[in-house]
């Protein structure tokens, strides 16, 4: 399979290419820096199309309307290009050139960019509204500001399941009592399956270990996963077709087609599918506790070397206003990061059955990579 080899090495080459481009292309930008009047900021995201549409069609036009003088240039990248984007950002900071973007939306490289000191620190003085962000949503990484959140919830067909389990041990029992009616996707291929697997592993770990795995990487502590992996392997005979579909969408499809009656799903994907009619009205969702299935905020950040700091920070402040937070609820069913009581009643009622205020964190990307591998070796 030559294509794989090419793609791999091409990534490496594109990093080099991007570095060179970043070095050449940014020189001109630095001159018109603080020139007041109209300015253009570049907003970059590598998130899914739902999020792209949210920004491109809803948030950016509304922001430009309320902030004459600032235009926002929308740019997208492929999620597989994360390391290249991080490399070009790091290169621009190192050479003190303008960065390739002024606001980063959702990107997976933000935690790494934060620890490498590439982001402008967010305080209540430069983003006053950040004081409203609830304690549970606050980011521990400097310069990374949450603006919406989502979590893995248990989606079920209320016509077949009248009283869904709300605690993980009850869910496990339900799966065993109803063989073939539960499905979760391969954790390598989507966060919803990964969230379920992580909750199963967490049920044998203490708080401190879970926290260590979500904030860092400790290979020795991973022996604590053995019990959870064994539980998961024991579930295989009882899941749908004894197999694990690929991707978050595929389990939603199975639920929509009535082939299964219960799945772990991303809250926002579940609600959007229901709104679009790919899931029937009888589909409902609850949050699972003891331990919870994880979720997490999605964040914004401004590169420390952006020449349009003020405009970019204005945009971040504006997104935290209740009106925009309610708009995000309406458009993509994202959890608000400010207290939901500040939102209109209609926006609050969307999340019936879900706990939107407490979101347990996912494992760090390195811990999750090892979790996926061990799952694939011992459970699949």
């Amino acid at each position: 399979m030559k294509i794989r080899i090419r793609a791999t090495a091409l990534t490496a080459m594109s990093v080099t290419a991007v570095l060179t481009l970043a070095a050449c292309g940014s020189g001109s930008d630095s001159t018109d820096a603080a020139s007041g009047g109209s300015q253009e900021i570049v907003l970059y995201t590598d998130s899914d199309t739902g999020v792209q549409q949210l920004w491109e069609n809803k948030l950016i036009p509304a922001f430009e309307k309320s902030h004459p003088g600032i235009t926002v240039k929308f740019s997208t990248g492929d999620v597989s290009n994360q390391s290249a984007q991080l490399a070009s950002l790091a290169a621009s900071v190192k050479q003190d050139k303008a960065p390739p973007m002024d606001i980063v939306v959702d990107s997976g490289f933000l935690p790494d960019a934060s620890s490498a000191d590439l982001l402008t620190e967010i305080t209540t003085s430069n983003v006053p509204n950040s004081a409203d962000i609830t304690e549970a949503m606050k980011s521990s990484a400097a310069g990374v500001m949450p603006y919406r959140a989502s979590a893995v919830v248990l989606a079920y067909d209320s016509e077949k399941v009248t009283t869904p389990p709300t605690a993980l041990p009850d869910l496990v029992q339900w799966i065993k009592d109803n063989p073939g009616q539960f499905a979760y996707n391969d954790p390598s291929t989507g966060g919803s399956g990964q969230g379920f697997v992580q909750a199963m592993l967490d049920s044998h770990l203490d708080e401190a270990t879970i926290k260590a795995m979500s904030t860092g990487y400790d290979e020795n502590a991973q022996s604590g996963w053995d019990a959870g992996l064994k539980d998961l392997a024991a579930l295989t005979p009882n899941v749908y077709q004894k197999t694990y579909p690929n991707g978050n969408e595929e389990t939603l499809n199975l639920l929509g087609q009535g082939q299964v009656s219960m799945i772990p799903a991303w809250s926002d994907m579940f609600l959007t599918a229901k709104k679009n009619g790919t899931l029937p009205d009888s589909a409902k969702a609850v949050s699972i506790s003891d331990p919870a299935m994880p979720g997490g905020p999605s964040s914004l950040a401004v590169p420390v070397n952006s020449k349009h700091q003020e405009a970019a920070l204005q945009l971040m402040n504006w997104v935290l206003e209740p009106e925009q937070q309610a708009g995000i609820v309406e458009a993509i069913s994202g959890f608000p990061v400010i207290p939901s009581t500040e939102l209109p009643k209609s926006a609050q009622s969307v999340f019936e059955g879900m706990d939107t205020s407490n979101v347990a964190p996912f494992y760090s990307s390195k811990s999750a990579a090892d979790m996926n591998r061990k799952w694939s070796q011992r459970v699949a």
């Binding site: 009535g258 082939q259 591998r373």
Partner: protein, 298 residues
Amino acid sequence: MRRRPVTGLLAIAPPVIVIALFVGLPMVSAMLYTLGDTGGLNSTIGSIAQHQHTPERGWLTLDAYREVFADESFRASLVATIVVTLVATVLVTILGWGIALYGRFHDGPLSRLLTGVSIVPMFIPAVIGAYSMLTFYAPNGMLRTIGLALGWDSAPTLSYTLTGVTLGSVWSNLPLTVLLISSGLGGVPQTLIDASRDAGAGPVRRFRKVILPLTTVPTIIAATFSAIGILGSFTLPYVLGPTARNILGPLMDDTYSAFNMPQQAQVMAVVVFGLALVASIAYVWANYRSARRSEVLR
């Protein structure tokens, strides 16, 4: 006729340069990475990867290959890849031959319809085809529904099985096979067939002694294309295949991004590359043979 060599060299220079730069160089660099080299072009990926093997002494190491081949799930997937490739290639070649023969010797609306339908998969994107097969083969899908209607209440569920992937591979490789073998059959002179008939050869003998020898080369080319395509397939096994013991494509992708182990993923890619090389030996032989034949004819 002899051409001046300089003009010829200039003509092939652009493709050679493009291939050397965008295919050759990355491939060499990727292979060096599998052997533990993390400098130069591999420095970025080397700084991100987990569980990477670098040589303790010397320049290169085979540790990554050792780890991959010691992994049970890789070995199972390798066997699955080889078996599915062989079975699907044989099936698609037989089917392609059947359709091409029918189209060649029975010119009528039915044969034209059959040939037309067998070409359709070429115009359906792999993702769409894979998802429709998944729905078709599901426990509540059409295959089982028809089976039930005919009184067969235990019709197999083929979604998420290697059988499903094999059938899907046959489906997606059928068009090219039919086109190549049809054009090969079209090249068999009717006079030769008629002459052998007049000489008293029955249909089987005509097929074995006249038609088959004249279409060996296109058949081998078609089979090689199918085999290499199936070896490297990703979308179909990803959507339709089982979680473990699947074709190597999805495992490579998981290893590369989800397990963050690009070195091991590239080791697997080198293995698949090796398999594709083996499959293309027959192709090179067939090309060589047809080139020689045309020289003889000239």
